[in-house]
Symmetry: C2
């Protein structure tokens, strides 16, 4: 699919399980589709592409950026331990990279494995590493700190919990099996050893592959289709918008050379006030978003892929898509052509004492430059998004995610040994 | 499979997606199985049996007991609101039953749906309802309260949080898609309306179908195969051990007649002290359990299904399976033939401040009589299980789960209108 190289592999188990991935292109199945009985009654699961698919660790870019979003995700941030510096960080990234490579290939961790992922295929596991602003001063690498890591501006609607924000180091883990994902999380934590301690950790999820015949989009916990208008790896300008170019290449930026092929990730824990949202009713929900909930099409008609007609007025003379509709404010052509690749997970951490779910979106977005991706869009949302009264940004992080490791190299080596 | 009637259906989406369930019988794939490249490069997911499978709501028994355990689970307990009694409870169970039936068939909830499950198949969704000890006094139904609901004895190793224990009403939700499960959870909560409020709620997970070629067992977060020695629906005495018989039937008990076809569920939130456990090392872990971690076979040899040789001594003259080994203590033939059907979910609620995961097992076990199922086994474990220093029971519940609803009936109707 992309240069990061999603290789589809089949794990041939001892049972001779067969991996299958019949294409089921487009089209929502919807509630109306009629179930039909079949004669099948075998309870045995097959080792489908869900378990057998493996993603390559090595490549120009790290995995977990253009990899199709997995059904289970973990985000974890670490702070370097007191006394740990560049040397310890380099050793840690070397250990982490070796572990990520092994686990993503469906192998056990080196040394003693917890066995939690045993029996399972790699299940599209990806592990992605990044560096936070504070990493560079702690390791004496201030001169290598990208300007793009300057702290995000304050937004008036922020309710950020510092304890669950930022961090020296960040990892994103995704897999289509919850135990494979947990196994990787524990392995990454164990490898941190004495060099770093957990600062915060969050769990998320998305649709399971095969749960829907509408595979390219997922829904969030507000019931909205998510991912509409996301740039596609096949777009001409995808690489330019999402990845940092090599120094000296066309479109080269002021990023340090060690970031070539890398990307910047903005992470926001966005709580959804679901009780309020659900009370709103369908018509108002659609007005807030500017799109139909059923299929993601703009209120001005068409399909999910149709451009919204932002100038179209209704019989009442008002814009069909309101001035504060989320879809209008986030439209790339309304934001100076900025683009970010949104690749979120939903989260649900139980109910609070008032009986409302602590649930929402682990918003994860990727861009070559946060000041041209996330920031301008969020600034506009902050000023007048109709959705803002139903959500609350509770945590935030910004990390520099270096390019992928070549064979024999570890992630971040060009920074740490540069 | 059982009388509760697992019907395998295919949701034929508009894309003409094909449901496939090729059998992949037995045999662990393991880390050693070699991946092989294939030429497939289609990123489109197929609507496999993962999404298309539907479980019948109506039947002799409620769903979610013998249904193969799903990859995502929610447990939720409610207390009746002040002023709500038998009449409100009856109306609530009627609403809940109607909603469970609709959602399990892959339909939208009545009224306004949140759309969170839209596009997805039923994904083996099950919703199961139960009554706690306190329900009966609040509804004036003390005379109908089963003796089996008498509070569980205290165990010396318990560290129970009352706020996360017990409850008037209980529901278990399971599905092979996280959004389908969350959708059902919100629908059940919404239907509670003014009649009941959330007391506690917990989230869990298991292997995704298709992630492994070893489909009949799952692993817990200690890396152990879970479910070994579970009674099977095909066993001659399965129904007698798991379900309450009809009044007057052979083996009839002193249970009230409304519990015919029902079962009692014990729920324990069992935290695993994973840092301590993982430090222990494989050999000691296997001694604690009495089984090999790799394949669940007893330390005295054979396969997972082989009976442990409890009298076998090693060269040192000591029992190969130690006196305090978990597998010895939990062996049914060491416990007066008691049996329970364990159907747990793992849980992981992030990390605590010390950097240790708040993770473990949502232990859910089913039996016709808790005093012959859970209690005697837990009493023995409490006295001398080598595993006990690595786990902590943090919450507990015991609920009467009535038989399944016939068509036109709702769950608990024989109690509430009896």
């Amino acid at each position: 699919m992309t240069e990061s190289g999603i290789s589809r592999r089949r794990l041939l188990g001892t049972a001779g399980a067969t991996g299958l991935a019949l294409g089921a292109a487009g089209g929502a199945a919807g509630y109306a589709a009629a179930p039909a009985d079949t004669s099948s009654s075998s309870p045995a699961a097959s080792l489908t592409s869900l378990g057998a698919d493996a993603v390559m660790f090595h490549g120009k870019h790290q995995p977990g950026i253009t990899t199709p979003v997995q059904s289970r995700g973990h985000l974890i941030a670490f702070d370097l331990a007191a006394g740990a510096g560049r040397k310890e960080a380099a050793a840690l990234l070397r250990r982490w990279s070796a572990t990520a490579e092994r686990l993503m290939a469906g192998k056990a961790a080196a040394g003693e494995d917890t066995d939690v992922a045993r029996d399972a295929g790699p299940s599209s596991l990806t592990v992605t590493f990044g560096f936070g602003h504070s990493f560079f001063s702690r390791t004496g690498l201030e001169k290598q700190r990208p300007g793009a890591l300057d702290p995000l501006p304050d937004f008036s609607s922020d309710h950020l919990d510092k304890a669950r924000s930022d961090g020296d180091l960040w990892a994103q883990i995704g897999a289509n099996d919850p135990l494979v994902a947990f196994h990787a999380l524990r392995a990454i934590q164990k490898e941190a050893g004495d060099a770093a301690r957990v600062r915060w950790q969050m769990n998320g999820f998305n649709r399971s592959p095969g749960a829907t015949a509408h595979p390219m989009t997922t829904r969030n916990l507000m019931g909205q289709i998510d991912g509409t208008n996301n740039p596609k790896p096949s777009d001409d300008d995808f690489d330019r918008r999402i990845y940092v170019p090599a120094t000296g290449a066309a479109g080269a930026t002021r990023d340090p050379s060690w970031m070539a092929g890398g990307s910047y990730v903005v992470v926001r824990r966005i709580r959804m006030l679901l009780d309020d949202w659900e009370k709103l009713g369908l018509e108002h929900q659609e007005a807030v978003i500017g799109r139909h909930k059923s299929d993601g099409s703009p209120l001005t008609g068409g399909t999910e892929a149709t451009e919204p007609k932002l100038e179209k007025a209704g019989a009442d003379g008002k814009y069909v898509i309101a001035l504060n509709a989320h879809a209008r404010i986030t439209r790339p052509d309304q934001n100076g052509g900025s683009a970010m690749l949104r690749r979120p997970f939903s989260y649900h951490d139980g109910f609070d004492k008032g009986g409302e779910p602590d649930a929402g979106l682990l918003f994860v977005c990727w861009q070559a430059d946060p000041l041209r991706g996330f920031v301008p869009v969020q600034r506009k949302l902050d000023r007048g998004d109709a959705l803002s009264e139903f959500i609350r940004h509770e945590a935030s992080g910004l990390f520099a995610v270096p390019g992928g490791a070549a064979k024999g190299e570890y992630v971040g080596q060009r920074l740490l040994e540069g």
